[in-house]
């Protein structure tokens, strides 16, 4: 199998299509016959990163590469960046405003859910430059 590449744009603060990139990737992985457990973990990790780009990052992009052994996802934005990544990674920490909480987000579980469900997680972030969340999930361990 050659590498499958997909790119998606993630509009800022637009909940009408938030989750569409993750939804497309989920469908693609299912069609490729990837195991349900991997599809599930990938969906959770990618959705949380996508939603963070929508809510916290002024929107951004998703780049996805799938080969025979793994899926690599890079969600990047040019938003405010994360000042203290260790703090942000802590479950329960959130700077989401009330308007976002009222929709059911802002529990501060996103980054820890990404960590739990990915095999490799690498976050690059710089204040006022943006954030890149690099996620890899292997198809079998």
């Amino acid at each position: 199998m050659s590498t499958i590449v997909r790119d998606y744009s993630i509009p800022a603060n637009d909940f009408t299509i938030a989750g569409e990139a993750s939804s497309s990737v989920r469908k693609l992985l299912s069609q490729l016959g990837v195991s349900p457990d991997v599809v599930k973990r990938t969906s959770i990790a990618m959705y949380e990163a996508e939603i963070n780009a929508v809510i916290h990052g002024n929107g951004g992009k998703a780049h996805v590469e799938i080969d025979e052994s793994k899926i690599y996802i890079c969600i990047s934005d040019e938003g405010p960046g994360i000042a203290d990544l260790d703090l942000a990674m802590q479950e329960g920490y959130s700077t989401a405003p009330d308007s976002i909480r009222e929709m059911g987000f802002g529990a501060g579980m996103g980054l820890s859910n990404i960590k739990k469900n990915s095999d490799i997680l690498y976050i690059e972030t710089e204040i006022n430059k943006g954030t890149k969340v690099n996620i890899t999930v292997f198809f079998s361990k």
Partner: protein, 117 residues
């Protein structure tokens, strides 16, 4: 027990049953999960679960579709945003509603599942 059978047995209202959704009415119900934190639901709702939430915004449809839950149940006759019903139709997500509370619905569904065994 399918979604349709459960809705009939327990008196739940099926909000949408247009084409891609009609097929999902035959999905098997295997569990129930109640939670209004979307991150928590995203991580914990299993395929085959009835997911109970008081939220009715578009993100609920995204999470339901991503988790492939059996259906979404809105308790206490809470009004459902019309754009969410439209999106649910597009995505093949079954929406149910009931006058009862989330706790009551959990009890009913778990009892019905137990009776099946």
């Amino acid at each position: 027990m399918t979604v349709k059978e459960m809705a009939h047995k327990l008196g739940y209202k099926i909000i949408n049953n247009t084409d891609p959704v009609a097929e999902k009415l035959d999905a098997k119900v295997t569990g129930v999960y109640a939670c209004d934190l979307l991150s928590h639901a995203m991580a914990k709702v299993n395929e085959g679960d009835v997911w109970i939430t008081v939220h009715t915004n578009l993100n609920v449809i995204a999470v339901a579709s991503l988790t492939n839950c059996a259906c979404v149940m809105i308790p206490e006759n809470i009004d459902i945003e019309s754009q969410s019903i439209e999106r649910a139709n597009d995505k093949g997500v079954v929406l149910l509603s009931s006058s009862k509370s989330a706790a009551h619905i959990c009890l009913e569904i778990l009892s019905a599942l137990k009776d099946m065994k």
